[in-house]
Every structure is written in C-alpha cells, then in structure tokens.
C-alpha cells in the first residue's frame, strides 16, 4: 500500500441543489519520499485535496491514509497532533508572523514539535543565515517563502505540503524555491506534495497527478525527473 492513499474521497460544500462537489470520489496513492506535483487549473479541487491531506479540512466521504494513520477517522485533537508531528505546510502567501523575526518564525514550529531540527541549521540550509534577525516585512517574497519552508522543515515532518509555493513569486525566485523543495525532498527523505497550476513544474516531480473538475484525470510516475535548472520557464 502506498504511503499516502486516497480512496473514493469526496468533499461536498453545501447541501441540496447548492451542493458543490469540490472533490468527487478521488482515489490515488503517493509513495514515501516522492516529490509529487498536483497539477490543475484554478477551481479544479487541488487545494481541497491538499487541505484534506493536511488535516485542515474533513472529507465528506472516503478514506485517506497517511503511513499508518487513517486521517478520515481522526477527530479534531488527533488532527492537530497529526499536523503537529507529521505535516509541514508552505503557503502561497507565506503566512509568517509579522511580529517575529525570520529565525523566530522558524522557532515557532520548534515550540510544538518534539523531534524538531535546529532552526539555525535549517536557516543556513535554505540560504538565509544572513537574514535571520530580519522581520518578514524586511524580506523579499522569495526570502519569505524560504523562511516559510524552513519553518515547515524545522518540525522534521514526514510530509511537506506546498500550496502554490511559487504563486506569488517571479519566475527566477520561483525557480530557487522549487530547487530548494527538490533538494529538501532528497536530503530529508521527506514526501513533498506541490500544488500548482503551472504545468512547467510537472517535469520536476517523481509523480504527477492531474486534477480536473474535482476528479483525477491522470496519475503518472516520472522515472526521470528533470532538474529544476533544466526546466525551460
């Protein structure tokens, strides 16, 4: 069985005639340590998939299993524990705490994770050792996103979920962030799921899942992922 398994998962918002099937009986699997790119146009349901996978939202039906945990059976406190111990999030708009410095934002994750890594080491790893004492407002978008990744990694999660991580960045900065994610996947043996509408990102993934109208259009394994620097943007 795959490390991540979606089995007939649906998410319906609203009821009756106004019901919207954001995700409709979706089934797929992702192996441990893979870098998976979930690709789809706006409104296809990919963010819903990520939210369900990250325990931020509850499925209407179906089963989601991550490792040995059945996410869909978990109640709120267990889901919090799951997010705390197993999942790292990277958002399109970074969501850093504005009153904390870059390093302190990373330390914020350490507060709740018993197996956390050294925040300074991680900051070095993401190339921000010289920006550690800066506040988010003093950092560029790319730098803020790297802080966000460092914060997610600091918890030493087995699963890193990235929602449009390059959506707010220019192509050059976006490229650097994707490179970092690819490196993280290899270095930390972390399963990385990247949600994007940018089809150019697809070749870098070990696996590419295409979502359309709330369903899986394609789930393909890429035996030879392309290096980020080799992708034509």
């Amino acid at each position: 069985m795959s490390y991540i398994s979606f089995d007939q998962v649906s998410k319906i918002y609203g009821t009756g005639e106004s019901a919207v099937h954001a995700v409709d009986r979706v089934s797929f699997g992702i192996e441990r340590g893979e870098l998976c790119v979930v690709l789809g146009p706006s409104g296809a349901g990919k963010t819903t998939v990520l939210n369900l996978l990250g325990g931020m939202d509850k499925a209407t039906s179906g089963t989601i299993v991550v490792g040995d945990k059945t996410i869909t059976k978990m109640r709120s406190p267990q889901l919090t524990e799951y997010r705390r111990l197993d999942v790292g999030f990277v958002f399109q708009f970074y969501n850093l705490m504005p009153s904390l410095t870059a390093l302190e934002n990373v330390e914020l994750a350490r507060q709740v994770s018993p197996k956390s890594l050294d925040p300074i080491e991680i900051m070095r790893d993401v190339g921000l050792e010289h920006r550690m004492s800066n506040f988010p407002a003093q950092l560029s978008g790319g730098e803020q996103q790297r802080v966000s990744i460092a914060r997610a990694l600091c918890k030493n999660p087995s699963l890193l979920l990235c929602d449009e991580p390059t959506g707010a960045l220019d192509s050059k900065t976006g490229e650097q962030v994707l490179e970092l994610l690819a490196r993280v996947s290899k270095t930390y043996r972390t399963t990385v799921v990247i949600i994007t509408h940018n089809a150019n990102v697809a070749p870098m993934g070990d696996r590419v899942i295409r979502v359309r109208n709330g369903t899986i259009a394609e789930n393909t394994v890429n035996p030879n992922p392309t290096k980020v620097e080799d992708i034509a943007w």
Binding site: S76, R83, V87, V112
Partner: protein, 774 residues
C-alpha cells in the same frame, strides 16, 4: 439626475448593509456614546431634580432666611426686627424639644409653637387639616414620626416639658421645609425624633425664644444679619447657610453637581477613545471600497458624506438614547435613595437642561469629527493605491530587547506576546485604559466607603474613649455628685451649649463643649491621644477651622446664649477631630468667666457597672443613653444606605471594562485570525492558542489594572473633596485589602472577557482564514 439618484440609493443600501455586517462594532459605538451622555444627563438630572424639588418646596412654604434664637424676645424686639431694612416677614415662636412619654422614654419631638397662624416655614399638610392660631388643643405632627408610631389624624399626643404634661389632638400630618432632615444626631430616626407644630397660646407662660425672618428678594443678607445682631446682641443667628437641614439639602445638590464634573468627563474621554479606535479600524478596513468608489467616479464629497454617516447614525442614536435613558434612570434611582433621609414632598423632574443638550451634541460632533479624521487619512491616497492591500505593519524590536540578558531569559511565547503588544500599541493602550478606568472606578468606590468608615471609626473608636454617654436635662446635678454616686472606671461630664462664634465680620452658631481639665474620655490630641485643654484660650475642631478659616493664634469672640456682650479668646489650638464643628473650653477657664457653675448636659462613663446604668435609667434628669458602639454602627448604616451609589459605580466600572475590552478583544481577534489560523496549521492545540491569547491579555490586564491604582486613589480624593460634608472631615484613604480586592475584581473580569473571546478559537476555519491575503 436619475443616475445620481440611483447612486445615492446604492450608497444608502451599502451603509445599512455595512452596519448590519459590523453590527457588534456599531452597537459598541451606540452604547459608548450612550454611556457618555447617560452619565452626564443622569448626574446633571439628579442635582437639578433635587434642587428643583427642594427649592420649590422652600419657596412654596416660605422658608425663613434667618432663625434668630434669643432667651426671650419682647413684642418691641420683634417689631424692631420687622423694621430692619431688607426684612420682608417676621414671625415669633417658641421652640423646644419636648418628651413624648406615651411613645417611649427616649422619644422626643421638636415643638414649634407659633404666635398666630404659621406664615413662615408653613407646614405642608399631607393629611387632615392645618392649624389656626386660635386652636389651643390641636397640633400638627411630623408625617414620618406619626407613621413610625402609627399615629393618625384625630389621635392625641402627650408632650412633656419641664415635668408639665400637655395633651394635643393631631389635626394634621405635615412636612416642614425647615426639617428636610430631621436628625438629632447624624441620622434621621423617626421612631425617636420628630417635630410638631402648635399654637403659642396653647403653651401659656412660654416665652418667644425664636424669631424667624424672611428677607426681601435681593436683600443684603450680611447687612441684615449685622442689623439684627445690633438689635439683639445676645441673639444666636442661624442663616440658611448654617441651618443644618437647609445647608445639608443644598450640599447634596452641590455634591451631585460636582460629581457631574468628574464622572462624565471620565466616561466621555473613554467613549471618545473607543469610538476613535473602532471607527478608524472600520474605515481602514474599507480602504479598498473607498478606492473602488473613487475609481467609479464618485466625488470626494459624496464618499466623505457616506462615511460620515458611519459616525453620525450610531452616535446620534446612542447619544440621544443616553440622554433620555439617563434622564429617567439615574435621577429617579438616586432621588429615591436620598429620599430615605431627605424628606421632600414631591419629586419634580426638571426639563432637559441646555448643558445636557450641549453634551449630547458634543458627543455626536466628536464622533463625526473622529470619523472625518479617520476618513481623511484614507482619502488622501490615490484610487490605485487604495485598491492595493495595505502593506503589513513591519515588526520591530522592543525596548526590552536591549537588555539581552533579560530578554534571553524570557520564554519564546513571552517574547512573542511582548512583541505583539508592542506591535499593536494603539489597541493595547485602549484596552489598558479601559481596565485602568475600571480599576480606578472600583478603587474609588471602595476608597469612598473606606474613607467614610475610617472617619466614623476614628471618632467613635478613637476620639471617644467612654463606653456610655448619658444625656441630662436642665435638672441635672453637679458632676462631683455623679462622680460620688456612680460606680464606673471613670466618670466625666461635658457641658454643651450653642454659642455664637464671631470672627472678623462673620458669625456662626456652633456647639461649645466645656470639659473639665484633666478629662481623658475625649482623646482630642493627634492620633487620638489625651491632651491638656488650653488654659487661657479655646480650641476648635478641624472642621470648624476649615469652614471658618480660623487658625491657631486667631482672636475670636464667643457670645453665650442670652449675653449681650461677647467674650474674647485666642484660639490656642486646632484639634484633629473628624466629626463636628465644635469649640472646646477647659472647665477652669469657664469658672474664671463667672458665667455660672459647670453643670453637665451629658455624662461620659467608662465601663459603668450594670447597677449604675440601672440607677441612671431610673433617674428623672436622664433623657438619653448613647453607646459609642451603637453610634458607630448607626453611622455605618448611613454607609449601607448609600450602597446603591457604590453599586452603580461598580456597575459602571464593569460595564465600561466590558464594552472596551470586549470590543478591543474582538478587533484584536478579527485582525489576528490569520495568525491564529497559522498556529492551528502548525499544530498548536486550541488550548495552546487560547493560552497564548489569555497570557497576552493577562499582561495587558496586570499593567492596566496596576496603573489604575494611583488614579483610583486620586479620584477618591477628588470625589471626597467634592462631597465634603459640613460636619465631617474625610481623609481619603484606600485600605490595602480594598486596593487588592478592586484590582483582583478588575483582573478577573478582564480574564472572563478574554475567556469569552478565546471561545471563538475553535471556530477559526484554517482554510478560510488562510485563503486570501486580504
């Protein structure tokens, strides 16, 4: 034209929808504006109501301007007074306290026996009928005294003076405007003390010992007083300013009037501050919409007018609501409370005063001005800039971080909280001010109670060292005879008399206590110590020194009752006695004046035997027993009767704190929902997030409540000085338990409010909160 109208309608719809969407914040503005005008119109309405009710009463019953007491006034004396320039009316009467043996031993009434039908201080008949000068058997009785004794019109009343009994038929139950407060001591006690009116002809042989006078409008009261003094040098003149009941009634009006300068100022300032914060936030949150309207081509004036309604509608509604609710709540409540001691026949509601309308208008103008100010900041930006989201406020280091050693010792969460507090200075300040005001008001309420209690305690358990006071009538024996007969640890006596104290051009009717030298049962020294009475001069109490401006070393004259020449003395010292306007004189000095032997009017006994007390109860000359412990508790019961005022203060304090803290808490929560959602995503448990919020609130609470301690003490002093009583010296003091309790109440209340807000944490939807950057 049609286009313009449609635009106008759309903006109106937007206005009402915005209001319903941000209902809580608009309701907060309404309530705060209402609070500001409510306190003002309430307190302003209270003093105006008491003033109107009492002054109308005084006018309708022709309250006298002067009460002139003499030993015995002849017809020519009275005629001479009538001819004094500025005097409009004169009436003579005999006034004396008479026992009512059928109603109990310690019960007496102050009887005014009028020559002819009362034309000055006309008794207001409440039941039955009035009294004519020729009615020799009838009397009018104090309505409250009658009620306390179940007496009715037609019943008989036996009055005893100098062992002579006279029985009268109660013709009517009345109220007298010169007896708004009918108290022998401090507290009115209708069961033991009241008043009655009879005809002078019904008391044959009784002299005219009091002349009551009214002045023509605009007459020079001081000049008339001098002329009266010249006509009757031995007279004791009491004016409306020194007449206990009238003065206390007017002091009550003055107290509430003074309070309108203190509390509404506070309520107004706080209301303006919160309205400022709330409106500024609301308009800042509308920046994109302002940009959109600008981009659509709406004129600046039209957009400005639209946003001004944000302030105008709630402030107008709130301020008017406060004005009208204040008019019908506070004055009625406070009047009812006052009416327990101040007997007025009718509660008259004055029209809304100009100042009340003015304060209402000020509240609205202030809110509109605040709104205009907030809008101006946003309107100065171009449409394109307004349509972009506002860049987040940059984080910054706090002052504390300069002390690296201290900063590094703080936990991560504490550092985060300190930074957040520093980052949201404005909001934090407002919340702190809210708690500060709350604690200030609670401390003030407790401080006032403490101060009054301390004054009473200091007198009855400090100054007074006897355990029993026994009042004697004019048939009492010498002090030595009592000292021989009575068995007690110590027996002392006091000779009390009303004298006229004259200083400079002024005079004042006061009580003089002649005490035997070497007395120990009145501890008149600093810190309630026994002191020697002055041997060559006199001493006066602190209150008398305060009201007259007399200092130690000043020369004064004392006119004894019936004397037509004053005695000159030097004030040797001022005793720090908390209660009473009193002159103290040593027994030896009294003897040297040759004005008669020292005859006690009251005995002070320390630990008398039961048998001694029993003997005294049987003695004919004993008129009353007073136990300092009972007097202390009686005086404290005055405090109990004012509990409603203090409850009102607590209510206002907590209401204010709730409005401010809940409002600020909600704004804080809304603006930081994204932060809390991020913490949730990171795996923070709800209780951990709630803990962080509570911890942050606790820091603000402790600072706010802590900083409120000093203003609380200060406010106590300000309020005490504005309610300065004519008879007591109140020294503002707030006890440590009160300070701690007040601060604890404020803190617990703040924690409760924050706890209510943290209950919203589970409702944070991570997906929704983190969806967009706005």
């Amino acid at each position: 034209m049609v286009k313009g109208e449609r635009r106008g309608n759309a903006l109106k719809k937007k206005l009402w929808r915005d209001m319903s969407r941000s209902a809580m914040q608009f309701v907060a503005i309404v309530l705060l504006c209402a609070l500001g005008t409510w306190v003002y119109s309430g307190l302003d309405g209270t003093w105006r109501m008491i003033q109107l009710s009492s002054e109308t009463y005084f006018q309708e019953t022709n309250l006298s301007d002067f009460w002139v007491s003499v030993g015995s006034a002849s017809k020519s004396d009275v005629d001479n007074l009538r001819n004094v320039n500025g005097v409009s009316g004169v009436q003579s009467r005999f006034s004396a306290e008479m026992d009512t043996p059928d109603l109990g031993k310690n019960t007496s009434v102050l009887v005014h026996a009028y020559q002819g039908t009362p034309e000055i201080n006309i008794p207001l008949v409440r039941a039955g009928q009035g009294l004519t000068g020729s009615d020799l058997r009838g009397c009018l009785l104090d309505e409250n005294f009658a009620k306390a004794h179940n007496l009715q019109v037609g019943d008989s009343l036996k009055l005893t003076l100098n062992n002579v009994d006279r029985t009268f038929v109660i013709r009517g139950l009345v109220l007298c405007s010169e007896q708004v407060i009918t108290a022998k001591d401090v507290m009115p006690d209708p069961l033991h003390y009241g008043y009655a009116v009879v005809s002078l002809d019904a008391l044959p042989g009784m002299p005219v010992n009091e002349v009551i006078m009214t002045l023509t409008p605009g007459a020079d009261s001081a000049a008339v007083e001098k002329s009266v003094q010249a006509q009757l040098p031995q007279a004791l003149i009491v004016t409306q300013k020194t007449h206990s009941s009238t003065q206390r009634t007017r002091a009550e009006v003055a107290m509430f009037r003074n309070l309108t300068y203190v509390f509404p100022g506070l309520a107004f300032a706080v209301a303006a501050m919160i309205v400022l914060t709330t409106l500024t936030r609301m308009i800042e949150n509308q920046r994109m919409q302002i940009g959109t309207l600008k981009a659509l081509g709406y004129s600046k004036g039209k957009i400005r007018a639209h946003y001004l309604y944000y302030a105008l509608v709630p402030s107008l509604f709130g301020a008017l609501m406060g004005l009208f609710v204040g008019r019908y709540t506070l004055p009625d409540m406070l009047y009812k409370m006052e009416a327990q001691h101040y007997i007025l026949p009718e509660q008259l509601r004055p029209p809304i005063s100009l100042s009340q309308w003015g304060m209402t208008a000020l509240m609205v103008v202030l809110s509109v001005f605040i709104c205009l100010h907030a809008y101006r900041k946003a309107s100065q930006e171009e449409a394109a800039s307004l349509l972009r989201p506002k860049p987040p406020k940059a984080g910054s280091r706090v002052f504390l971080e300069r002390w690296t050693a201290a900063w590094s010792k703080l936990s991560f969460n504490t550092k985060m909280i300190v930074r957040n507090i520093a980052r949201n200075k404005g909001r934090t300040m407002v919340a702190m001010v809210g708690l500060l005001c709350c604690n200030t008001l609670i401390i003030c309420a407790m401080g006032l109670q403490d101060s009054v209690a301390a004054c009473v305690k200091d007198y009855y358990q400090g100054t007074v060292a006897y355990t029993q006071r026994v009042d004697l009538d004019s048939t009492a024996g010498t002090l030595e005879s009592y000292q021989k007969r009575l068995i007690a640890e110590r027996v002392e006596g006091v000779m009390e008399m009303r004298v006229s104290l004259r200083y400079g051009d002024s005079s004042r009717a006061v009580v003089m206590n002649v005490l035997k030298d070497g007395q120990q049962l009145l501890q008149l020294g600093q810190g309630n110590t026994v002191v020697d009475l002055p041997t060559h001069g006199i001493a006066i109490s602190r209150k008398l020194a305060d009201v007259t401006g007399i200092k130690a070393g000043d020369a004064v004259q004392i006119w004894l009752p019936g004397d037509d020449k004053g005695l000159s003395f030097t004030v040797e010292t001022v005793y720090e006695v908390n209660i009473g306007q009193t002159v103290y004189m040593g027994g030896d000095l009294w003897d040297s004046l040759h004005k008669g032997a020292f005859q006690p009017t009251a005995l002070f006994l320390k630990n008398p035997t039961a048998l001694t007390l029993h003997k005294l109860t049987e003695a004919d000359e004993v008129t009353d027993f007073k136990n300092p412990i009972d007097q202390y508790h009686n005086a404290l019961s005055v405090l109990d009767s004012t509990t409603a005022v203090f409850s009102l203060m607590y209510f206002a304090a907590l209401g204010l704190a709730f409005l401010i803290c809940y409002n600020m808490g909600l704004i804080n929560f809304t603006e930081r929902t994204r932060d809390y959602a991020t913490l949730k995503v990171l795996g923070y448990h709800q209780k951990e997030i709630r803990g962080l919020m509570m911890w942050e609130n606790n820091v603000v609470t402790v600072i706010g409540a802590g900083v409120g301690i000093w203003p609380g003490i200060l406010l106590t002093q300000v309020v005490l000085s504005s309610i300065r009583s004519e008879n007591n010296v109140f020294i503002a003091q707030v006890t440590l338990p009160s300070l701690l309790l007040a601060t604890l109440i404020t803190c617990l209340f703040s924690i409760l409010i924050e706890w209510l807000i943290t209950r919203k944490v589970p409702s944070i939807n991570m997906v929704e909160a983190l969806k967009s950057v706005e």
